[in-house]
């Protein structure tokens, strides 16, 4: 399981990646956790609720979220296509890419895709570590992927 210290390490990596304000991260985590809780309250079993929440993640939009501190004035945030999960997980993504310090806007489309996939991993890791002791398999997969 990812513990509190590990969550803190993830937050630092998110900061390095582009979401510089802790408040933005808190907001995003609250969004996913609320979505998850609503599903469980509506009778979905936790595992299915988790998978449904993961499937809802707006990976394309997270790029704009990460860059929201200084958005280009002439670009509207995209209303993006739903991105399926876990297919969106890049197997090769590791914390090394995160700590390399690149900014999403300067990257090639491939690197940009990779970067917001990594952000998504991190946010989910936090969600899972805080709320889902029943899903140790996924937590350990994320921890392994993030080299924690």
């Amino acid at each position: 399981m990812i513990d509190t210290n590990q969550v803190s390490a993830i937050q630092h990596r998110i900061a390095a990646q582009g979401i510089k304000q802790t408040g933005q991260l808190e907001e995003l985590v609250d969004h996913y956790l609320t979505s998850l809780e609503c599903k469980i309250e509506n009778g979905e079993v936790p595992h299915q609720a988790l998978l449904a929440t993961l499937a809802e993640i707006d990976i394309g939009g997270l790029y704009f979220f990460a860059d929201a501190n200084d958005p280009p004035s002439n670009i509207e945030p995209p209303i993006t296509e739903q991105t399926s999960f876990p297919e969106a997980w890049p197997v090769e993504a590791t914390s090394k890419e995160v700590s390399s310090g690149f900014g999403p806007r300067q990257q090639s489309s491939e690197a940009t895709t990779l970067s917001f996939n990594i952000i998504t991993h991190m946010v989910l890791a936090i969600c899972i570590s805080k709320t889902l002791p029943f899903n140790r398999v996924i937590s350990s997969r994320l921890a392994s992927r993030l080299e924690l």
């Binding site: 408040g23 808190e26 609250d30 969004h31 979505s35 609503c38 790029y63 979220f65 509207e76 993006t80």
Partner: protein
């Protein structure tokens, strides 16, 4: 179901202002759910779209935010600034009238 995205581009900020003006203080997930419910599950606002738009509106001074701890975690609520109500109402009216004109163009009476 998700075919309305391109029509939302350019109108999202005004839609957010309208929802906030109508419902008062709201948080992001609540806004998404409200939009779905109000449109019979037709319009899905995603987190990647609404949060940057909300942050931009806040930067422009049209809305403000406050944080509250709910169920042990921080939740950020947004509301329309009292000083900006006139401008917000004006924006909503403009979009509403524009939508009316579109309706006229799309379904002209014989």
């Amino acid at each position: 179901m998700f075919a309305h995205k391109k029509f939302l581009n350019g109108t999202l900020s005004t839609i957010l202002l309208a929802l906030l003006q109508e419902n008062g203080r709201m948080y992001g997930y609540e806004i998404c759910q409200k939009a779905r419910q109000a449109t019979d599950d037709t319009i899905h606002l995603t987190e990647g779209a609404i949060y940057p738009a909300l942050h931009k509106l806040e930067k422009e001074g049209l809305i403000s935010s406050s944080k509250e701890v709910v169920n042990g975690r921080t939740r950020k609520y947004y509301n329309v600034n009292q000083q900006s109500i006139e401008e917000v109402t004006s924006q909503i009216d403009m979009l509403s009238k524009f939508a009316g004109h579109l309706q006229t163009l799309l379904k002209p009476t014989a």
